[in-house]
């Protein structure tokens, strides 16, 4: 088990370390980009779904409901093959970020809408009563409270997105899963390398969940 002969797991993982670390870095970069893009879309989309004029609400509703009813893989393949048609020179990386970010955004929009709507109506009314404008109410009254309710589903979505980046291996983005597969293609240590990659993902996601839980505990005293 702990031998360092050529063909042993430890030797092979040492040989493949650069590729695997590059894959891990790509996974981290992809996850960060999609979660950031998704959160931005989600924040704007959620506000739009709650307070927007009806044409905007219908558009956003169509976007959110359509994206939530289509498998992510189909979105990724669609964006990969489809965006190229529009004459955009697009790399698999960008196509993947667009698809995953759009997917994440739809889920986040729904979460943000739910969080804002779950606030007691008295909060918005009190804001109005002291003469705050709409954006001031959002900025100082509603969003700070909504964010606390948002945190647990936000962390869940973040974990889903980290897991979702593996689907980009199908369109050829060399992230951790594809880097692992390339390594396996060289040394045939199927079980060991898949297990190692899986353990890395679990560690990564577990860290995110624990961080979320920590922030939640730290902010638990904010009772409005």
């Amino acid at each position: 088990m702990f031998s360092f002969e050529p063909g042993s797991f430890l030797f092979e993982i040492w040989v493949a370390r650069n590729g695997l670390l590059a894959g891990l870095a790509a996974t981290a970069r992809l996850s960060a980009l999609t979660i950031a893009l998704g959160s931005l879309i989600g924040l704007l989309g959620g506000i739009g779904l709650t307070y927007g004029p009806w044409p905007l609400r219908i558009l956003l509703r169509a976007y959110v409901d359509a994206v939530r009813g289509i498998p992510v893989l189909v979105l990724i393949l669609f964006s990969y093959y489809g965006l190229a048609l529009l004459g955009i020179q697009i790399s698999p990386f960008t196509a993947g970020v667009v698809a995953l970010g759009g997917f994440c955004g739809a889920h986040m929009s729904e979460t943000v809408r739910g969080a804002i709507e779950s606030l007691p109506a008295g909060q918005a009314e009190a804001g109005k009563a002291i003469g705050l404008t709409f954006w001031q109410r959002l900025r100082y009254v509603l969003l700070p409270q909504a964010i606390r309710r948002l945190l647990p589903p936000w962390v869940n979505t973040a974990v889903e997105m980290v897991k979702g980046t593996t689907l980009l291996s199908i369109i050829g983005v060399v992230e951790l899963l594809l880097a692992t597969q390339q390594t396996i293609a060289r040394n045939y240590l199927v079980l060991q390398f898949y297990f190692a990659a899986g353990a890395l993902y679990v560690l990564f996601n577990f860290a995110i969940s624990q961080l979320g839980a920590l922030i939640e505990r730290r902010t638990a005293h904010f009772h409005y």
Binding site: A66, G69, I70, P71, V72, L73, V74, L75, L77, F78, Y81, G82, A84, L85, L86, V159, V162, K163, G164, T165, T166, L167, S169, I170, L177, Q181, I184, V190, L191, Y194, F195, A197, G198, Y201, V202, N205, F206, S209
Partner: protein, 221 residues
């Protein structure tokens, strides 16, 4: 945009796409059925008095829930033969993976269902003299299934969407078929729009059907 839509190839291949869709539905339904059994066992194991068992199933649930499903699919499909398990075909191995995956998620659903069981149901069952096993089979499980029905239907829908990943190991379900049509004919927009529409319609049809079932069996608390 100068793209000319031409749905001819889609019409010619539409029966293949429908076959793929049907296969996906089957994969999801079978995995849900096996997943429910796994989920129930795990939910009960987490209430066990044996700390080792509790810890083991906790590890299973956390590992599976934090691991990408695509990686699990590859692990089972390419890895099990290494362990000398050769009798699983593509479809069996995919169903196995999806069931294990669903089991972890469903165990959490059932755990919440068991935890939210109103105490008066258990008390009533005790009062009419049911033994512990009878209490579980005749009272707690039926009520728990009715409480968790909304989560179960959400899980079925997301499992159905996850069957698209079977394309990665060349199971001819809708995504795989669409990708083939796309590669053979270059009708990019038509093929993916049709696939998306089929998935959307199916998801909302399942959701609509299950909402009706839920209303029919809602627990009056």
């Amino acid at each position: 945009m100068t793209y000319q839509f031409n749905f001819d190839v889609i019409f010619r291949n539409f029966d293949k796409m429908l076959d793929g869709l049907w296969l996906g539905l089957w994969l999801a339904a079978l995995s849900l059925a096996i997943g429910v059994v796994i989920g129930l066992l795990v939910a009960y194991a987490r209430q066990s008095r044996l700390a080792g068992l509790r810890w083991a199933v906790w590890t299973y649930v956390e590992f599976i829930r934090n691991c990408p499903i695509l990686l699990l699919i590859f692990f089972v499909y390419f890895g099990l033969p290494e362990l000398g398990i050769f009798f699983l075909g593509k479809i069996e191995s995919f169903i196995l993976t999806l069931s294990i995956y669903a089991g972890a998620y469903l165990s959490e659903v059932f755990r919440a269902g068991l935890a939210s069981m109103p105490a008066r149901y258990v008390e009533a069952a005790k009062a009419v003299g049911l033994r512990p096993v009878q209490r579980q089979v005749y009272v707690i499980l039926p009520v728990m299934f009715r409480i968790t029905l909304p989560s179960l239907s959400n899980n079925l829908i997301s499992l159905f969407k996850d069957t698209s990943l079977a394309a990665a190991i060349a199971i001819p379900e809708l995504t795989f078929v669409t990708r083939q049509i796309n590669a053979n004919t270059f009708r990019v927009m038509e093929s993916w729009l049709t696939a998306s529409a089929l998935y959307l319609v199916t998801c909302y049809a399942i959701a609509w059907l299950l909402r009706r079932v839920e209303r029919r069996y809602a627990v009056i608390r």
